[in-house]
């Protein structure tokens, strides 16, 4: 079953087209990577799905339910049950790691005992148990990444959206965190929409690659197919 569907979605920003007639279906458990150069509309896809902006035309569906269509938001971001790791991570600096994870659970009315349980489990999965009482500013870049991941996943989202989450890290850490994301995926089995402009990252993470160009999909297919695509078109997409 498709957990996410974009149907002929178009989005303009003050006259400029960011997304044009964009259609995409994501199956449950899939790891989709949206790959493309800066400015091609990748972030716009995620922000439309999250509900921060409405599409000008077309429809967006989550688990079969239309959440936005033709310029209208039908379901607010806070009721879409998605997880997101922002490019700047957006960890709340005045809350501890535990406070960051607990916020969404409280907002969703999860009882205290279950909150503790879920926080403990997810912090174990990202190897951050000892840091529950620490504020984000006192963590390393990699640790902050793990907390941002844990904060999104602790809510059991219907899909996890990640917007160039590793772009600010050095290559070694970048590669290690790719592995960790895949391990988490093996353990929990979430649906992943992962945005990047980096080919290697895309091929490592994705089960399916969506290559974007100027607000539209240029090609969508397996890792193999996208490798062939780049051999044909040349690698200078970025």
């Amino acid at each position: 079953m498709n957990i996410i569907e974009f149907e002929n979605v178009t989005k303009h920003y003050s006259g400029q087209t960011a997304l044009h007639d964009f259609s995409l279906a994501v199956a449950e458990g899939e790891r989709i990577v949206i790959l493309g150069p800066s400015g091609c509309g990748k972030t716009t896809v995620l922000r439309l799905l999250a509900g921060f902006i409405p599409p000008d035309s077309g429809a967006i569906k989550i688990a079969g339910e239309t959440v936005a269509a033709d310029g209208r938001t039908l379901k607010e971001p806070e009721r879409r049950n998605l997880g997101m790791v922002f490019q700047d991570l957006a960890l709340w600096p005045h809350l501890t790691v535990k406070g960051n994870l607990e916020f969404g659970l409280k907002a969703r009315g999860v009882p205290k005992a279950e909150r503790e349980n879920r926080i403990c489990t997810i912090l174990g999965l990202v190897q951050m148990e000892e840091y529950a009482g620490v504020r984000p500013a006192n963590l390393s870049g990699g640790q902050q990444q793990r907390v941002a991941l844990a904060r999104a996943l602790v809510l059991n989202p219907r899909a996890l959206l990640m917007d160039e989450p590793l772009s600010s890290l050095d290559l070694e850490l970048n590669i290690r965190l790719r592995k960790e994301i895949l391990e988490l995926h093996n353990n929990i089995g979430f649906t992943l929409l992962y945005v990047t402009h980096d080919h290697d990252e895309a091929f490592d993470i994705g089960t399916r690659i969506v290559i974007m160009k100027d607000g539209n999909i240029d090609m969508a297919g397996s890792v193999e197919e996208s490798r062939e695509y780049f051999e044909r078109t040349g690698p200078n997409l970025c």
Binding site: E78, R80, M84, F86, D88, H94, G104, A107, R108, R151
Partner: protein, 242 residues
């Protein structure tokens, strides 16, 4: 150059205060000042504190609206608050009188609530604008992350946005307090009998009070202004040292 500027500042800022302090340098002047204006001093501080608190609240809402442009009339809210701030207090006072001086609104007009209402009408631009600049310092993703985590607007404000702008909100409170405390225009127009504030009392006592009394009252006024400023300064510097 610096000496000239320093001398100039000394002449126009420090000297008048020193003169007031010197003039009132008798315990008897302060005893009399307390006797004749203690009630309005306390009222002044209470009204200013209440006004500042409500100004922070109102300014937060309007500042948030202006910052996020969430509703189409955000620009109108911004212009109106700034316009009201620019108007002389007496004009707002007369407006308030003609609006509220009716038998069925006496529960406001005959109580200090009308003074607070006047403060809100006139000074919201201050806390609103301070909120706008404080909000400008936090990335929009902070609130978006809270939103996607499932939090509605009140929870996002209470737990994420307001705590992250708390320095700005504290600053807004201090500025609001000072402007309410020193307000003359509105207060003089609308204060119900027996509810005058210290600036108004000083003004009325000036007609026949002794210079020592007036000077002592002014020093009290200065202290009431400096009290929260000093407290705020100490808190800020203590937190800065951490």
């Amino acid at each position: 150059m610096f000496i000239t500027v320093g001398l100039f500042c000394f002449l126009i800022v420090i000297m008048p205060i020193l003169v007031l302090v010197a003039q009132s340098a008798h315990l008897s002047a302060y005893v009399e000042a307390f006797g004749r204006a203690e009630d309005s001093l306390l009222r002044s501080m209470a009204y200013a504190a209440a006004g500042a608190s409500l100004l922070v609240l109102l300014g937060f809402f309007s500042g948030y609206l202006i910052h996020t442009r969430a509703l189409p009339f955000w620009r109108g809210v911004d212009s109106i608050t700034i316009f009201l701030f620019a108007l002389p207090g007496t004009v707002i006072g007369i407006g308030l009188i003609s609006l509220w001086n009716r038998p069925w609104t006496n529960f406001i007009y005959a109580t200090p609530a009308i003074i607070i209402l006047g403060y809100l009408a006139r000074y919201t631009a201050l806390t609103s604008r301070i909120t706008v600049s404080a909000l400008g310092l936090i990335p929009p993703s902070m609130e978006e992350a809270a939103q996607i985590a499932g939090a509605g607007w009140p929870r996002r404000m209470a737990i994420i946005v307001a705590p992250m702008t708390k320095t700005g909100l504290a600053l807004g409170w201090l500025v609001g307090y000072i402007f309410c405390l020193r307000d003359m225009g509105i207060t003089m127009m609308v204060y119900p009998p027996g509810h005058d504030t210290l600036p108004v009392r000083i003004f009325t006592l000036m007609a026949n009070g002794s210079p020592e009394l007036i000077a002592a009252l002014c020093v009290l006024m200065i202290s009431a202004t400096l009290l929260p400023l000093t407290a705020g300064g100490i808190i800020f510097s203590l937190r800065g040292n951490h």
